[in-house]
Subunit: 378 residues, 2 copies
Amino acid sequence: MECQDYGLNRNIERDNLNLNPLQRGGVLTKEARKALYEFSDGYSVCDYCAGRLDEISRPAIHHFLDDLAEFIGVDQARTVHGAREGKFAVMHAICKPGDTIVVDGNAHYTTHLAAERNQLNMVEVPSNDYPEYRITPESYQEVLDYQEDYGEDVSLVLLTHVDGNYGNLTDARAIGKIAHDHGVPLLLNCAYSMGRLPVDARAFNADFVVGSGHKSMAASGPIGVLGLKDEWADTVLKLSKRHAVKEIEMLGCTSRGAPVATLMASLPYVIERVGRWDEEVQKTRDFVEKMERIGGIKQIGVKPKEHDLVRFETPVFDEIAEKHPRRGFFLYEELKKRKIVGIKRGQTKWFKCSAYGFTQEQTDYITRSFAEIVERYK
Amino acid sequence: MECQDYGLNRNIERDNLNLNPLQRGGVLTKEARKALYEFSDGYSVCDYCAGRLDEISRPAIHHFLDDLAEFIGVDQARTVHGAREGKFAVMHAICKPGDTIVVDGNAHYTTHLAAERNQLNMVEVPSNDYPEYRITPESYQEVLDYQEDYGEDVSLVLLTHVDGNYGNLTDARAIGKIAHDHGVPLLLNCAYSMGRLPVDARAFNADFVVGSGHKSMAASGPIGVLGLKDEWADTVLKLSKRHAVKEIEMLGCTSRGAPVATLMASLPYVIERVGRWDEEVQKTRDFVEKMERIGGIKQIGVKPKEHDLVRFETPVFDEIAEKHPRRGFFLYEELKKRKIVGIKRGQTKWFKCSAYGFTQEQTDYITRSFAEIVERYK
């Protein structure tokens, strides 16, 4: 049989300034590119495996997991295929079908999917209203009190540390404390934080944390991180009865390939960049200020920004689209002419973007480009 | 904090002849190496996603999945993280905790793990005795008849198409027929076959097949294939109630990164090499004959070989180890001097190996090397 042409190139995204927040934190380091080359063949990290991926010494996955655990403040760290697979594993290990979990109203869709796949009931902690959509400890307190008052058990509290819609940073420490006061463990979804900003599970009162290598840790996907406290190891990292060294929830081994090598190669850089998080926040605030100064552009979510993911409402572009011969496509096309990509074709009412990892010059070029487009067509 | 040195190189395995059967089928094509470069950054295949990984048109994942489905004889194909994750998903979708499944006695440990994670009971179909360890349709018939006679429901029959211990090829078609006669669907684990030899799920009477990209499809791990008949799509590919386009068992999307791009890039080559499977079998039979001619080396498993994975009992090396100053390490070290790797350090009683993908010259060099080592120390 003849295969079709799959168009396996990515020149546009590699050669241009990509504003997609999903992709800003996953750009590989040169060390990770080298690791990808070294470990590209299938099952490449398994050369010296004695039965446990997390104990492989060549490459030194065991040392890496120790370093990673220290970096994120957990007792035990494992790699999983991504944050969603980590959430599923925790829920699967500690909940039964029909159990209730409490999640924030800004939770990622994969939190819902992981719960649905585990047949769990979700009680949602609402955010406050437009335009902030803030998740507060008080709302968690209220929901957990209600559950307690009505004698409804909660098996797990989940909090999205930074959500993917508004880039709001939540108060994990306070919410973790509230969960513990109600005798419920906290799972913190750090897909948009771990690898960007400091994550310390102990300080956050989190029993479990998940992170995403491809989203925020300069790694090639699919790869994620699952961290936990020792007291949960017997449950979540339970060993098989039949294959005594294999962890059931990991199906034995998870990241049997190149992605884990890229995560390992990038870790020193990731640790270093997390130390510079304040600069990224400052750059984002400047970026927002310059964008809003254009007029007809408004940042949604908590202000001032505490994370690089920014959601803008952009009535100015929507008005232009109404009269522009290319209609809604004009913005994508105008940006692309200026070598800026990452905002969906046809989208003009609002968009999400991020300048994470860009230099100040690049960021200024981006805001100038938006200003130019407005000036030209308004 | 300071990271340790993780030793992220793989020169030895890349520069030498690697006999590890686990790795023979996962060596990348040059097209896959290029795809790895293009799609190395995290979340790289998601540039043009409209919500469904399997429907992405750039790169053309949707066309690829159509081609793949045709290639393996299924109605629907998805990528998963590996064969084990595919098995887990099928069991999770169609079985309930406490259900009974029937599996072959040569099943991979990940079959047991997937069942254990799903809290399923396993009834095993024994192989025949040493040295063949053959799995027969008659034994499946017997076990399924027994279950039926005692009124014990079976939710799923699983068969390992080619097992990883002896490299025995089973009669999927006959066993699939028997499963269907008992009203039970068949899940065929093709981790060691799909991408090496022709797999036609329809002809094999398989309702589900799983394959492994990193094991047998010239792809960078972790990546696997799940194929199924349309009649099971509503169950296994069930959509989320809340997120109407997302498939629950896939947690929305699975292979969000470079591995799927490598699998796509290698497919044309994989299709072509599967067409040359007879040559590989012939080469394996010659290899076994030459190895056995050395003396003190005996192939275990079904004879003549119908798959490249070969298990040898090697009393000759065990005898040498008793007297050799390097004891059990001598074989590994002697092979390494000859630029041959992939047999575990210290192992002399028996080993598994494969010459899959090697040229006849390379294969002859390998058998000559073993003969030389015996001659020198015996």
